[in-house]
Amino acid sequence: MTLLGALLLVVAAGLLGERAAAWERYKLDLLENLLVGLLVLRAEIDYLATDLAAAMRRAAGAAPAAAELFAGMAEELAVPGMAAGPAWRRVVGRWCRRKRLDGRLPGILSRLEAAFGPWQAAEVVRHLELVQKLLIQERDERRAKLDGTVRLWRYLGICGGLTAALLLC
């Protein structure tokens, strides 16, 4: 029974480690989706002059993992008299909390607050470009660390389980 208990503990800890590793991979996927969404947004604004709410909806359609962010902004924009900048800040805050995103990402996304307002396309695009560059940098850093981080979480899970099993036995 003790052996079985110890085995279960190791397996559970291993799964926890695997879950944490999957979360790291998901965050990278989220970043990729954000980049796709911003690319669509930029094309809609710069080339098609689509109004912001419709552009947000299209970006949501193109980036399923980040759809909630873009669709949330489109919903906010539908409220009469809603200023786009504060609306974006609110949506980003809500989305980052729900996705448990921390580090630099919320800050990078919040920079777009200044992009949404009564501006010409060139001004909006400049802001989008900057945020795209920062996101690409963030993605590349995360991607470079991903293998190490995933391995770390897996080892941590199994080793943590083994340690706990040894201590409890």
């Binding site: 109004d51 924009l77 008299g81 786009a84 009564p118 010409q120 396309a121």
Partner: protein, 338 residues
């Protein structure tokens, strides 16, 4: 509250929204314009009378009026453009934005030129929101005078700015397009060359004002070009356009005449003398391209009908000479009051 005001109220920042909502119903119902100028008091025009907007409606003094601060102006522009000013780039270049409902926001600011042409307006510091007022039946009195033997005559409507030319033209388009059974006028295919989006007030290609069931609108296109495109593509029976004046307009209208299309057009002018100075109009009259002249003024408010006149070729006229009075000018071209 009047529906026109209701349609635009949400664009205004709360302080202005409250001020407009607090106006007496009689003022709201006749509201024509709301003017915002950066750093200066907010103003409005109702029934031809201008006044300043205070926190609780009409301000007694300019000092007691709401000052149009930078954040207020910015919030207004953002609301009007739905945070998508870039989507209105072409309209901004032309100095206005057409809003849902056909309302028009005039813009003042710093023009950015490129190759001698206005590329855009930056540092927008003045707005003039003109509320669209559709007056169905505005042409009821005039339309019978524009018919001869059951046929619509080539017509020129002349008036000073703000005298109801476009309102009249819009209602004429609606009635001609739908047909008027009582006058024996069947519905016609109407085409409108609406360069400044004033007649049909198109928003995303859709007329916001009723211009009739059989009406096609080419919006935002230079008149002369629009007329040629409409002739080629839409085969209209009646062609309607606003504020003719340039040589190119004249050539395009002559082309329409040669195609057997009936013209209903307008021009700015306060008197017969004014229209006589326009070579394009003179040429159209000479070629029989204008059979009826309608004069409007603001004498008893916008849309005061001064008269509908007929121009008779047989009178050997068609040689418009400068005349100070309308009737004298008409007589000079062998015309008479209808």
């Amino acid at each position: 509250m009047h529906s026109s005001l209701e349609e635009v109220l949400n664009y205004f920042p709360p302080v202005l929204k409250d001020a407009l909502a607090a106006l007496p119903p009689s003022v709201q119902n006749r509201l024509e314009e709301v003017r915002l100028r950066r750093g200066r008091p907010a103003a409005a025009v109702s029934g031809g009378r201008e006044f300043f907007l205070g926190p609780s409606g009409v301000a007694r003094t300019p000092e007691g009026a709401i000052s149009c601060s930078e954040p207020l102006m910015s919030a207004f522009l953002e609301a009007v453009s739905r945070a998508s000013l870039y989507a209105y780039a072409e309209q901004v270049r032309r100095g206005y934005i057409t809003l849902p409902g056909g309302h028009r926001l005039g813009l003042a600011g710093e023009a950015v030129l490129s190759g001698g042409e206005v590329r855009t307006i930056k540092h927008i510091g003045g707005f003039n929101l003109r509320l669209a007022r559709e007056i169905k039946g505005a042409a009821d009195k005039i339309l019978p005078g524009l018919l001869a033997e059951g046929r619509l005559c080539h017509t020129l409507i002349v008036s000073p700015p703000g005298s109801g030319k476009t309102t009249l033209l819009r209602d004429l388009a609606r009635q001609i397009s739908n047909g008027v059974e009582a006058l024996g006028l069947p519905g016609c295919k109407v085409a409108i060359a609406d360069e400044r989006s004033e007649i049909a007030a198109c928003y995303r290609g859709e007329p916001q004002l009723d211009v009739g069931r059989r009406t096609d609108v080419l919006d935002g296109c230079p008149k002369a070009e629009a007329i040629m495109m409409l002739i080629r593509a839409m085969s209209p029976e009646v062609l309607i356009t606003d504020e003719i004046g340039s040589e190119a307009d004249g050539r395009a209208l002559e082309e329409a005449l040669h195609c057997g299309i009936t013209l209903v057009v307008t021009a700015h002018g306060a008197s017969g003398e004014d229209i006589c100075r326009r070579p394009v109009i003179e040429r159209l009259v000479r070629s029989g391209g204008l059979e009826r002249l309608v004069f409007l003024s603001r004498r008893r408010g916008p849309g005061t009908l001064e008269g509908v006149f007929t121009l008779s070729k047989a009178a050997g006229g068609h040689n418009i000479r400068p005349m100070p009075a309308i009737s004298a000018a008409i007589t000079a071209v062998g015309g008479s009051r209808v």
